[in-house]
Amino acid sequence: MSVSEMFVALQGALTADQDIREEIRKVVQALEQTAREMLTLLQGVHQGPGFQDIPKKCQKAREHFSTVKTQLESLKTKFPADQYYRFHEHWRFVLQRLVFLAAFVVYLESETLVTQEAVAEILGIEADRERGFHLDIEDYLSGVLTLASELARLAVNSVTAGDYSRPLRISTFINELDSGFRLLNLKNDSLRKRYDGLKYDVKKIEEVVYDLSIRGLSKEAAGGAGVEK
């Protein structure tokens, strides 16, 4: 084979690769759109009246996940199944965002941390690499860290809205999360950088709890928990 023939063949391979990336980008754009819509919807919980209809907002958000499912389904068809990590960076960001949204919805509904398997199920993908398009563990953890900062914000806003018991529950939750993350030996990568931000969220929530307890508001919340809800 002559040198120029070899380069023609290589160029062909590179162009094919670019075409795949182009296709992936299109689907990812649509996914980002859906994710933005859900985020706007869920942002409503930070406003005063939003606290009353959290279940309704969660319900609406869950409806969006079916769109996400079909979009992810079409993403799967855009590239060979065994080359997930080759194109990973294209959907990494949006997948982390979706994990956050799923985790946020599940937290608002049940005040628990969504498991990796449960997120995968909500998104209609696999939890395990062997079985196809899956949720990478680092993406899952990144999404969970985004949840932590969102909850720090929620703690502040729920006080403003007069819900004094929520920050205490958030505090317990975040503390458990923090202990969980401390078990991990993170490398000096993006996940580690985001984990470094967790301590500020923990701090913020503890400050809120502190403010409530020196004013006796936390006891009031514990005593008359039903009043505010």
């Binding site: 380069f7 990590y85 503390n175």
Partner: protein, 284 residues
Amino acid sequence: GSGGFRKRKHDNFPHGQRRDEKENVNPSSALMKSFKSFQQELDTRHDKYERLVKLSRDITIESKRTIFLLHRFISAPNGDDILYDSEVKLDAVRRRIKQVAQELVGEDMYQFHRAISPGLQEYVEAVSFQYFIKTRSLISIEDINKQLIFTTEDREESNMFFNPRDKLPPTLSLKVTPVDYLLGVADLTGELMRLCISSVGNGDIDTPFELSQFLRQIYDGFTFIGNTGPYEVSKKLYTLKQSLAKVENACYTLKVRGSEIPKHVLVDVFSTKTELIDHEECLS
């Protein structure tokens, strides 16, 4: 690192309060259990990555040594010995690549691609350099990949790197990606430039012309790819152009001076020129 962070954190809070919260966290809760399994999963992944980085470094070093060895080929009278030695060295490199392939059994190669890519590029450079010296042509990516198919007979020596519980497939293989190949070939041109200059120094008048033609073909190939490839490929194009210019200038000098100076003097003329070029290269 994280130790410092923990310490700072402790100072920020009264100890009593901190202990209360610690008690709230149940070490056997579902959340803690799943994080323990995450810890394991991440550690396994990082360990594998580190092993691959180490293998990649070994591959790089051995490939570089092979290239240095091959540079001696022109000046040495016993060329065949050197070619044989380089083959032995490359076999050693391939054994390392086999270990890489073993690490990657059942994994997605691209997940760990960044760990092994530098080594593979250097290997492509070495193997294509040897191939050029032997055949005066460019080795194809298919030929490179053919050499990276391994059988699993000698399994004992690699047991320490590989979990024996896992089932070994009958053959292992590793595929050099087109981009790795291209980057390796781009590096090869730098070696060819050095080969060209030193061969003139040794009084070989024909090799520079042959090389300039070969380099021009490769340069044409790279311009054909242009910016379809990733960023690194287009970055190498600039260096490639410089190498080509050096070789073309050398040929020019040979042609011009060659017609007016007797052959035995020419070598002296060029030797001084070579030093100049080498000096420039060091600076850049």
